[in-house]
């Protein structure tokens, strides 16, 4: 132990100057950090994608369309069978050629992952097989029209056979992407260099470093000091300072995420739709947007943003109207003064405490007595999942496994949903959801998601507060960087820094 300590200390003391920008090199201050030895089922896979190392069979464009990547084409052969044509002329960074066999082996590893990968687990996938030199056939257990989107998820990245061993996954020199991971310090950084034989053409940058910086303020400071050329997820409160100097560009990211006030639909008084509508009328979402999010996160009507193809067709932001709220409570035969309501909020997202207190004050105006309980997420989750609560604040991502909100609608609002905190169960909704999930035509499917969102809105199942906006910062010399809405890619062929 002493020897190891001395070697660590000596290496530290002899190390060179701090990592500063070098020509053709870019430093990214990332909010993610390596946590699980490159396990494909978690955030570590996103670091591989940020690094420009991981690539899947498909990729997701900035406007959320599924595009070719390592597969050039795909087709639904029968309701349970997808066929993917693998791109010719691609080599892994270790020199091995990419073919159907390598792809099927990589996806087999993904399926055998100790913790299943979202959207690509044995529950959904029956088999993966190389059915030709450059053809891979994937059979599913039930019709899975969203599969092409699932294989864009960083967790389904295709790595060379050399990457997989009994000790886990080693992405160093085993990817197909425009950048090669050359050095990993799990506590601090990943270093990458350009992969000269990349199938999509040489990247502009020579290389760079992804530094793992857990504190959002520190990431902002690194952008200001020039230590990082791109900083992910800086605090909203720092945006004004960061954008004032002119050397930095603050980039707004319309995150596929909604801040919502969940109501326990299975328990009085929120089992009554009129009471839920009254609560919605009592809350000033525009006020919350301005007071807490400086107007940057717009007030929400339904969970989805207005620029997305699955927006509810007619779900305007509700204007606060206390008279109507009181009238609805009267109609429902509910005396709010006789009720004690509790709002749950969790500490992981600091602004939730303030939002809870604002809502507490707003609901008090219509006569409710409201208590706020703030605790660690893991300690309030059991109560939320079991339905032992009244109201709960939640910041919820709605595109977690595929670039469509089907997973969110299923988990949160179907009768057997695994994350149905609202305790909402409606057979009509479930029938509509099943039809949407099996609709092969993307346009019709997206429209069907919108109708489901409309259903949730019309029944006032949940009070949607704001569609969240997050902020990245890039120095003015950075070109070719647009924050990806699903947080998939950063080091890409077009990324450059002067």
């Amino acid at each position: 132990m002493m020897q190891r300590f001395l070697s660590v200390s000596t290496a530290f003391l002899l190390a060179a100057a701090p990592v500063l920008a070098q020509d053709g090199q870019l430093v990214l201050a990332d909010n993610l950090a390596l946590k699980a030895n490159w396990a494909m089922s978690g955030d570590d896979a996103f670091i591989g994608a940020h690094a420009g190392c991981y690539e899947g069979l498909t990729r997701v464009s900035q406007d959320l369309k599924v595009e070719p990547s390592l597969a050039t084409d795909w087709a639904l052969v029968d309701p349970l069978t997808w066929e993917f044509k693998i791109r010719e002329g691609v080599t892994f960074q270790d020199g091995n050629p990419l073919d159907a066999k390598a792809v099927s082996e990589a996806l087999d590893h993904a399926l055998k992952s100790e913790v299943p990968i979202r959207g690509f687990s044995p529950k959904q996938i029956a088999s993966v097989e190389a059915t030709g030199p450059m053809t891979v056939t994937i059979k599913t257990n039930t019709p899975l029209v969203t599969l092409p989107g699932s294989v864009a998820n960083p967790g389904t990245a295709i790595l060379s056979p050399a990457a997989y061993s009994k000790d886990g996954i080693n992405p160093v020199g085993t990817c197909t992407g425009p950048f090669e991971i050359v050095e990993v310090d799990p506590q601090q950084y990943v270093k990458v260099k350009r992969f000269e034989n990349y199938w999509g053409g040489k990247a502009k940058l020579a290389g760079g470093t992804i530094r793992f910086i857990p504190d959002a303020n520190t990431r902002g400071t690194m952008a200001r000091s020039g230590e990082a050329q791109i900083s992910r997820l800086v605090p909203p409160a720092a945006v004004a300072t960061l954008s004032s100097g002119g050397d930095l560009a603050v980039l707004e990211v319309n995150a596929p995420r909604v801040l919502e006030l969940l109501l326990n639909n299975a328990r009085a008084p929120f089992d009554n739709q009129k009471v839920r509508q009254a609560v919605r009328l009592a809350i000033d979402t525009a006020g919350i947007s301005n007071a807490i999010f400086e107007g940057k996160s717009p007030p929400a009507g339904d969970p989805f943003r207005s620029d997305q193809p699955w927006e509810a067709p007619n779900a305007p932001v509700i204007e606060r109207d206390l008279e109507k709220a009181r009238a609805l409570l009267n109609e429902a035969g509910v005396d709010p003064a006789a009720l004690k309501i509790e709002i749950l909020a969790y500490t992981g997202k600091t602004e939730l405490r303030d939002v809870a207190q604002i809502i507490q004050a707003m609901l008090t105006e219509v006569g409710f007595t409201v208590n706020v309980r703030v605790a660690e997420y893991s300690s309030i989750e059991p109560d939320m999942l079991s339905g032992n609560y009244d109201m709960a604040l939640l910041s919820r991502g709605y595109m977690t496994d595929v670039p469509e909100p089907v997973g969110y609608l299923t988990a949160d609002y179907s009768c057997k949903g695994s994350y149905n905190i609202s305790q909402y169960c409606n057979t009509e909704f479930d029938t509509m959801l099943a039809a949407a999930a099996s609709e092969g035509d993307p346009t019709a499917r997206y429209r069907a998601y919108g109708e489901l969102a409309q259903y949730v809105y019309d029944n006032a199942v949940t009070v949607f507060l704001v569609n969240e906006t997050v902020f990245d910062v890039a120095s003015s010399g950075v070109t070719g960087f647009t924050p990806h809405p699903l947080n998939y890619y950063v080091f890409d062929t077009d990324l450059d820094v002067k």
Partner: protein, 314 residues
Amino acid sequence: MWKIILQRVAILVMMLFIVSVAAFCVPLLSDGDPARTILLSRVSDLDLAPEAVEALRRELGLDRPLPVQYLSWLGSALQGDFGYSFASRQPVAAEITRALGVSITLALSALGVALLVALPLGTAAAMRPGGKVDGFTTLLIQTLVATPEYWFAPVSVLVFVLWLGILPSAGWQSWESLILPAMALMLRPMAYFTQVTRAAMREVIAAPYITAARARGLSMNEAVVHHGLRNGSLPVVTFFALWFAGLLGGSVVIEVIFAVPGMGRLLYEAVVNNDVPVLQGGFVALVGLSILINTITDVLYVLFNPAMRGSHGH
């Protein structure tokens, strides 16, 4: 001296056992499901697939009864195997060794500088009570004691990183990245060391052997340097050891702000993520080190203070 060491070894074994049980019980204090908490730490998602939670529970052996889990851990730990981190899947011993290396470097740097400032300052203040140096020292001590690290850290970043641009703001990649966290950590120990040195040296200066030394013709400075410093520094040694043991795992805020991969951050993340193997290994290592440091301090005390040698049957 051997008696002290044997006593300490007995305490060490007992404490390690108590700490290992306590560390094992920490996750039980939370209402959450340990497997869900661990999985939540690996993904940015809140909606966890139930089959993923169950798979992880089996993989980590969390489906076994608690006493079985504990005994299994204890059996391996006695053979030097602290298991694998639930979160990173890396050997716990390697993670702790690496983090301890960082924290020891940081703590020794902070305390070393604090000592270098405190000893001469405290001595100078003690030699002329009520004088200018003494007044300045009192003011300095009060200011430093009242300066929180979480306030000083961002201010130092503002000055040295953003205004002067001479130091890195975060990370652990070069000797420069040590400076700001060490500065933030040294403030309060420096105040305490100065205070203790001042008090101890005032007693020493009034001691008969200093009067005797001066009667032999030595100047006050010579008398203090040759005869007083050794005795006056004894309480500082104790304080140094206490701070050293405390800083090894207790500089969480500074390690998070400056992205220092030390013990504080490792244990903090282990608590948040229910990473029981790292918690157990980490607490055991910290308590063991703490007792070791105190034992060494006691031994040093004996070496520094000849009067104590007889009382331990030397």
